[in-house]
Structure formats: structure tokens, C-alpha cells
């Protein structure tokens, strides 16, 4: 896999505040890396340094083999960037704005017009192309921001919260777009929305207090959840204490937690030792006792729970 973004020991301080503290990472073609982290964790600052807007206090960034400080123009040429909030010149129309960005990106003549038309089709901007950007809805403005990032078809894309503030349909659309582009590009995006990591990322990185806490596939992250491979069981018509005792004896079970119960039904969450699968053993136990099963399911793990457990203690220290 060819490395397209290479970051080594990146550091940024604002006076006494350390915003980014020694971040190193490599992103290759075909990868979609998701930056996760609480607000103020250093995600945007890192992206601003990758794109050359902020000068790092220490460390180095290479984009497509060009050092962003030594050869900024060459590095920026192969880069598309959607800044947070998708800023754009409000008095321009999407079309004139894309022509402007495309021209500065080095496109010209027929190629420029063709790329602008293609990009507007890709992000569905044709209907509003002659309206000024100021008058567009939030969803359309975000699409204009995405369009300017991809108008020159760059190999590296950096998106700062690409779906922030969009409605569920628009979110879905933007994710589809990112997925469609992912194969031959290197993409870094930041998000607070953990489901997004599942939807588009091949790799997820949790950042807190300017440091990388974990780096792995979304499945790796889920495996770190306390809930990973836990079993949810809902039964009816059985004695509470009997069920608890029977579940506690199933091999591989470390804890049994009662969720909610009423006269007819009771729900349990059964935790495995070290995240090993226990669904087989639990279902065997269920059938042996002939309980009336309402629901039986395996939990893959909840990213938000992993996220909280990894980022909260670090926050409490500061």
C-alpha cells in the first residue's frame, strides 16, 4: 500500500496550551481514516496542519511525497480540503465558486468547465447552480464545500466533519459519496458520529488531549468494548432467581446484569470472559431450561461506550 499522507511527531502549541502532542500516522491509497475524539481534542488542529493552514510547532507532514512546509504548492495541489463549517464566498453561485477554486487548482479552459459540471452532477448541485451560496440551505452549502474539495480529483482528501448538521438523508448521501471515492484515494475525516465510523471508515483513530489513544479498524475498536460478544436475552414465564442462577453457571460467563423486568418478561445482559463468544453456551442453557425466549442476540460492542471509556479518564485528569 502506497503511503499518501505521512505525519511524524506532529505537535502544535498555542501559548501554554498543547493542542496536538506528538501525533504520528500514515494513510495509504484506499484507506478512509476516521478521527474520533471529544471537542477540543486536536482533530481540527491536526487537519489544519496537514493542509498547510497552520504551521506545526514541531514534526513534519508529507502529502504525496511533498513536505507541506518545504513545497507547499506541490503538496496542496494533490489535496482536497473541506474545512469545518464548509466556508465559501457567499455572494458567488456554486458554479462560479467551483470555477474559481478549479482555476486556482490549475484547471483551465474546457477541462475546467467539464470538471465543474461533473462535480456538480456528483454532489447534485445542478438545481441551485445559479443561486448565490448565501441563499442555500445548510445541506446544499455542505455539498458546495464537498464539491470544491473534489473538483480537481485529488488523490488525498481531508474532510473536517463532512456530515455535521445534515439531515439523515443528506448524511447517507455524503457517506455514499465518500465510499464511492474511497477506492483510489486516501481520505481522512473527522466526526463525532460513531455510526459514521462503521458506515465509511476502514480505520478509526481516537484522539484526546492531542494524543492518539487507539488506532485500528472499527471492528478492533468494538472488540475493546465491555459489551463485545455480550448476549442480550429476554425471556418470559420463568422465575427471576432461577434464570439468574442458571445463567451464572454457563461456562465462559463472567457477569449477569438484569436490565428491566415486569411481571411477564425479564431481560438480561450476559457478559463473557475476555470478550470470547458465549452465544452457543447461552442458547444451550436456554433450551435446556425450556424458557420462553422473546429475544436472543449478540452485541458486537458499542463504539460510544469504548469512546467514553477511552476519553473520559484522560479528560478528568486535566
Amino acid at each position: 500500500m502506497q503511503s499518501m499522507v505521512d505525519i511524524r511527531q506532529l505537535r502544535k502549541t498555542f501559548g501554554p496550551i498543547v493542542a496536538v502532542d506528538g501525533v504520528s500516522l500514515t494513510v495509504g491509497q484506499g484507506e478512509v481514516l476516521g478521527f474520533l475524539g471529544p471537542n477540543g481534542a486536536g482533530k481540527s488542529t491536526t487537519m489544519k496542519m496537514i493542509t498547510g493552514f497552520l504551521t506545526p510547532t514541531g514534526g513534519a507532514v508529507t502529502v504525496n511525497g511533498f513536505d507541506i512546509r518545504e513545497q507547499p504548492l506541490e503538496a496542496k495541489r494533490g489535496l482536497g480540503y473541506l474545512p469545518e463549517g464548509a466556508p465559501a464566498y457567499g455572494e458567488m453561485t456554486p458554479r462560479s465558486f467551483l470555477l474559481f477554486v478549479g482555476a486556482l487548482r490549475g484547471l483551465r479552459g474546457a477541462a475546467l468547465h467539464q470538471r465543474v459540471s461533473e462535480t456538480m452532477r456528483t454532489v447534485h448541485l445542478e438545481d441551485v447552480m445559479h443561486q448565490s451560496i448565501d441563499t442555500l440551505s445548510k445541506g446544499f452549502k455542505r455539498r458546495v464545500g464537498l464539491a470544491q474539495a473534489i473538483v480537481h480529483d485529488p488523490p488525498v482528501l481531508i474532510f473536517d466533519e463532512p456530515t455535521d448538521g445534515l439531515d439523515p438523508n443528506q448524511k447517507h448521501e455524503v457517506r455514499e459519496l465518500i465510499r464511492a471515492m474511497a477506492r483510489d484515494k486516501a481520505i481522512i475525516l473527522s466526526t463525532h458520529i460513531l455510526e459514521e465510523v462503521h458506515a465509511v471508515c476502514t480505520r478509526a483513530m481516537i484522539i484526546a488531549n492531542g494524543r492518539v489513544i487507539t488506532d485500528g479498524t472499527p471492528a478492533d475498536l468494538e472488540a475493546r468494548s465491555r459489551l463485545h460478544n455480550a448476549v442480550l436475552l429476554r425471556v418470559s414465564g420463568a422465575g427471576r432467581d432461577d434464570v439468574r442462577a442458571a445463567l451464572g453457571e454457563v461456562p465462559g460467563v463472567v457477569a449477569v446484569e438484569a436490565l428491566d423486568a415486569d411481571a411477564a418478561e425479564q431481560a438480561w445482559r450476559i457478559f463473557p470472559t475476555d470478550g470470547a463468544p458465549i452465544i452457543g453456551a447461552v442458547s444451550h442453557c436456554v433450551s435446556r431450561h425450556r424458557w420462553n425466549v422473546v429475544e436472543l442476540s449478540v452485541c458486537r460492542g458499542q463504539l460510544d461506550e469504548v469512546f467514553r471509556s477511552l476519553t473520559m479518564p484522560a479528560q478528568a485528569l486535566t
Partner: protein, 253 residues
């Protein structure tokens, strides 16, 4: 390939120039500025300058008031140059595009200056009037226009630099007016008294040589001295250079 590099650079300046200039006309700025500029220029010429009563076929009463007209109107145009980019966040977009700060500064400045040039050119009915009423020396008038345009560039470059400091357009406007006033009056006691007594004479002479009024005075009377031209051109260059430095230094703040 230095030649193709500078060509690329000029192309990017051109792209920014076009966008910026179109921006004036896409908003009410163009209409409001042009109308106010022409009204004030006319009012000053006829009422304060006694254009008719002087009974002379020249545009001196017109040009005399330009420093004061520019002092207020140019900062109003210049204040948005960078402050607006900061406030709207588009500065992040602009400086992550393959453009150098210098190219962006020059492109935006040239657009604003050109727009002022257009406002100035639209005063041509005055020139027609003196030509109908008498036989003016059109060379002198041309020199006056040239000097006025250069002085406008000076005010604009100052405003561009001040605007790069802040995201607040009101602050940019007020400070630009004050700095501009300093340059207009630097040959006068109002400014010189601040420095008199504790600064050596050489410095006082230097400060008074910065006066817009002195440099504009001769040009507006048709005396084109190379030193006056060099003065305005280098003044523009220095302020624009400072603008680029400031943006490079604190673009993200």
C-alpha cells in the same frame, strides 16, 4: 523554470483578481460606493472648491479634495479585504489552495485598486465640462488623474495591511482612517509636534517627507516628478509586503 513559475503565479493572481472584482458587483458595494464617491467628488468640487467662481479651466478644485475623499472612502473598501475572509472562515479555504499569500494579497489589492480606478474614471463628465467651458491643459489633468490613482493605491495598501490584522471590519476601518490621516498630515504640525523635541531633525524631515499632501500637491498641478511616483509605488509595495507577512504570521488567529 523561473519564467513558467512566474507565469503560473501571474495566472493565479489573475484568478483572484477576477473573483474579487466580480464580488464588488455581485453585492450592493459597487453601486453604493460609486454613487457616494461621485456625489461627494462633485459636491466638494462645486461647493467647497468653487469650481465655477474660480473661472479657470482646470480640475484643481476637483483634485484638491481627493486626499480627504480617499481618507474616508478607501478604508471603507479596504476594511473588508482580509477582515471578511477571517470572519467568514474563507481565509482557511484560500490558504489551503495552492496559492502563496503574496499572490492573494496582490490579486485582492489590484481588484480593489482597479475598482477605485473605475470610480475615478467615472468622473469624466467633469473633464468634459472643463473642455466645453474652456481650453484646459489636458496634460495637467491627466497627470492629476495619475497622481490621484497612485494616492488611492497608497490608501488602499494601508487599508489592506490593517485589515489583515483583525476580523472586525469596524476596527479595520477606524485604524485605517487614523493611519491614513497620519500619512496625509505627516508634513503638518499636528503630526510633527508629536515627534518634535525628542526625535532628531533627520527623523522629522523623514516623517514630513512621507506626506501624501506634499507628494500629491505637485502631481495634481501637472508636475510629474519621478520621486513622487517612486514614493507612491514603493509605499504600496511596502504595505502590501507587510500585509503578506502578517497573513503568513497570523492567518489562523
Amino acid at each position: 523554470m523561473p519564467s513558467s513559475l512566474t507565469l503560473e503565479s501571474a495566472r493565479r493572481i489573475g484568478v483572484i483578481f477576477k473573483r474579487e472584482l466580480a464580488g464588488y458587483f455581485a453585492t450592493p458595494i459597487a453601486a453604493v460606493f460609486l454613487v457616494i464617491f461621485l456625489m461627494l467628488a462633485g459636491a466638494f468640487t462645486f461647493y467647497l472648491g468653487n469650481f465655477f467662481e474660480r473661472d479657470q479651466a482646470d480640475l484643481l478644485p476637483f483634485f484638491t479634495f481627493h486626499p480627504w475623499l480617499y481618507l474616508v472612502l478607501i478604508p471603507a473598501l479596504a476594511m473588508r479585504l482580509w477582515a471578511e475572509e477571517r470572519r467568514g472562515g474563507t481565509i482557511e479555504l484560500l490558504f489551503t489552495l495552492p496559492v502563496t499569500p503574496w499572490e492573494a494579497v496582490v490579486g485582492k489589492f489590484l481588484a480593489a485598486w482597479c475598482f477605485t480606478g473605475l470610480a475615478l474614471a467615472l468622473t469624466f463628465p467633469l473633464w468634459l465640462t472643463v473642455n466645453v467651458l474652456g481650453e484646459p491643459d489636458n496634460g495637467v489633468i491627466l497627470a492629476g488623474y495619475l497622481g490621484s490613482l497612485l494616492m488611492a493605491g497608497g490608501f488602499m495598501a494601508i487599508g489592506s495591511c490593517v485589515s489583515a490584522f483583525t476580523k472586525n471590519q469596524v476596527i479595520a476601518f477606524v485604524i485605517s482612517v487614523v493611519v491614513g490621516l497620519g500619512f496625509v498630515l505627516s508634513g503638518f504640525p499636528l503630526v510633527l509636534d508629536v515627534f518634535r523635541g525628542w526625535m532628531p531633525h533627520v527623523v522629522l524631515d523623514l516623517i514630513s517627507s512621507f506626506s501624501f499632501l506634499t507628494h500629491f500637491h505637485d502631481v495634481s498641478r501637472g508636475v510629474i516628478d519621478l520621486r513622487d511616483l517612486v514614493y507612491f509605488v514603493s509605499l504600496i509595495g511596502v504595505w502590501l509586503f507587510a500585509t503578506a507577512l502578517i497573513l503568513e504570521w497570523k492567518k489562523a488567529e
